[in-house]
Amino acid sequence: MTQTRVKSGAARIRDWPRRAAPAVFLAPAVILLLLISIVPLCYSLYISTQSYNIAMPSSTIHFIGLQNYLKMLVKPEFHKAFGWTLQFAAAAVTAETVLGLAIALMLNSENSQKYSGLFKTLFVIPMMIAPVVSATIWKLLFYPVYGVVNCTLELLGLGSVNWLGETFYAKIAVIIVEIWAATPFCILVYLAALKTVPSEMVEAARVDGASAFQVFFNIILPAIRNFVALVISIRLSDALRVFDVIMQLTNGAPGVSTETIGTTIYKTAFRYNNIGEGSAGAFIFFVIVSAVAFTSMIFMRRRAD
């Protein structure tokens, strides 16, 4: 009896590296996630309940409950930014979905198999470039006098446009850059989705004399609708977070017409140094993005049934 107990104790000691293995393997990742994500999140929740301005002495910091949230929610700039961000996300994601599907269909056609690899490689490039860099390039393209877009429009006799100076065109410009940067992602996922459509079904429909449109709307689209819903939900939550492109392309101008939720919060916190209100805004922003992602996920599940 005693002997076996001693034995098992010794075995346990010899065995400890094995038992510690899960902890050892998980430690680096979990420590990083806790220290750099969870702790800051909790701290930010605390900051959001304080009257906290980094330009003021620390003795002025005090608890004000939910006032930061209320102040942020009643701000007219915040409402304006909220409306524009929704418009932007809706317009960009619609265009990306249509264009992405169209290009994916073209690449998937048996007539383009020979060179689809090359096109795919070229389409990957915009997605890999830093949003700030692509916004910079587009800003050069949209320059009023020497920009190539306006010069080309002039050459074609269409007249130039004040791209980044007028509200309407500035909004269009921002949406174009977003479409340029994000459509490649849609193309790739749709292309993967199209590979899952059974080709016998398409062939059979064609033999029965269905037109290309009928084949697309009655066979292909229903077959890939889950992928479409998934891409839309991912792209919507990404588009609502837009920040880099706005900061570089328009910086909110003209006026504050292209300020998004993201840039408004950033400027509240770091231009006006009101990090209490900025934190509160950031959590409101998080709730909005999650709500959109969640609703689109429910929508997706319902359609999957």
């Binding site: 590296p17 830093a130 860099v133 993967a192 900061m247 919060i265």
Partner: protein
């Protein structure tokens, strides 16, 4: 028969033209930035654009390399992106192994933790990280930036590794176990070599993520000597009243080098990583 052949051929031409037009939209800005970077100033500021440069020069590159801090920014970016990739791939490879190999209590908590970090927008972290880093003296410090980038790349990296480890048959581990192989040796000499192609997928995503990051770097770095490329390029266009088209194009072109090289050579891995990551996320 001949008619069918003809319509088929017309369709093929139409398809090819359509694809070329779309490619033009996606590639022209990149082409324009690169070609502009090789143009003389006099050839840039013209109202009839030279779609194909008539003469080329390296002046713009010489200018940004010799007369600006560009080399510092570039080496900062290289350093930050490479260290982020190294640390993130190592941590994610280990965590993914533990999550697929062992059954232990707290597995669900860790999966939830990963999911939360994935969902929270980066902007939410800017304020608390700024305050915490300023108290710890980590502002204007690459270590702080690298640790943050690692953390935000971890969720997707761990998910990708999970997919890849799950493809390894269990029997391999079992027979290694019989031979008295420890979990640590199993990870290093069995699991890791088997998922090596996946390591490249995760590395590309981590590297590009860190190389391209802007919002956090903007809040956490202030001094020129610590800035990364996106921050430097952002300030190039705002500071000067007279926009230095050529220099900006050259800086932009050089910062696009990793993206272009990786797209041209590792297209398959990128597609795999992005689609798998998206579907999982």
């Amino acid at each position: 028969m001949r008619k069918i052949f003809r319509t088929k051929r017309a369709g093929r031409v139409l398809l090819f033209t359509g694809l070329c037009l779309c490619t033009l939209f996606f590639i022209f800005p990149v082409y324009w930035a690169v070609s502009m970077s090789f143009k003389f100033k006099a050839d840039i500021l013209v109202t009839v654009p030279q779609y194909i440069p008539e003469r080329v020069t390296l002046d713009n590159y010489v200018e940004i390399i010799q007369k600006s801090n560009f080399p510092i920014y570039a080496s900062n970016s290289i350093k930050v992106a490479m260290l982020t990739t190294l640390i993130c791939v190592a941590a994610a490879a280990m965590a993914g192994f533990a999550l697929t190999r062992f059954a232990f209590s707290g597995r669900k908590t860790i999966s939830a933790l990963i999911y939360i970090v994935r969902m929270v927008p980066g902007l939410v972290y800017t304020v608390p990280l700024y305050v915490i880093y300023s108290k710890l003296g980590l502002l204007d410090n690459h270590a702080g930036l690298i640790l943050a980038y690692c953390t935000f790349s971890l969720p997707i990296s761990i998910w990708l590794f999970l997919n890849f480890y799950e493809e390894i048959p269990r029997e391999i581990y079992e027979s290694a176990n019989m031979d008295g192989c420890s979990e640590y040796r199993m990870f290093l000499s069995i699991a890791l070599p088997l998922v090596l192609p996946s390591v490249s997928v995760v590395s590309i995503l981590c590297f590009i993520g860190a190389w391209n990051e802007f919002g956090l770097a903007l809040t956490l770095t202030f001094k020129d000597q610590f800035k990364t490329l996106p921050i430097a390029i952002n300030s190039m266009i705002q500071r000067e009243r007279d926009t230095p088209f050529g220099s900006i194009a050259a800086a932009g072109a050089m910062s696009m080098i990793p993206a272009i090289i990786l797209s041209l050579t590792m297209q398959k891995y990128i597609v795999k990583g992005l689609t798998a990551g998206a579907v999982k996320g």
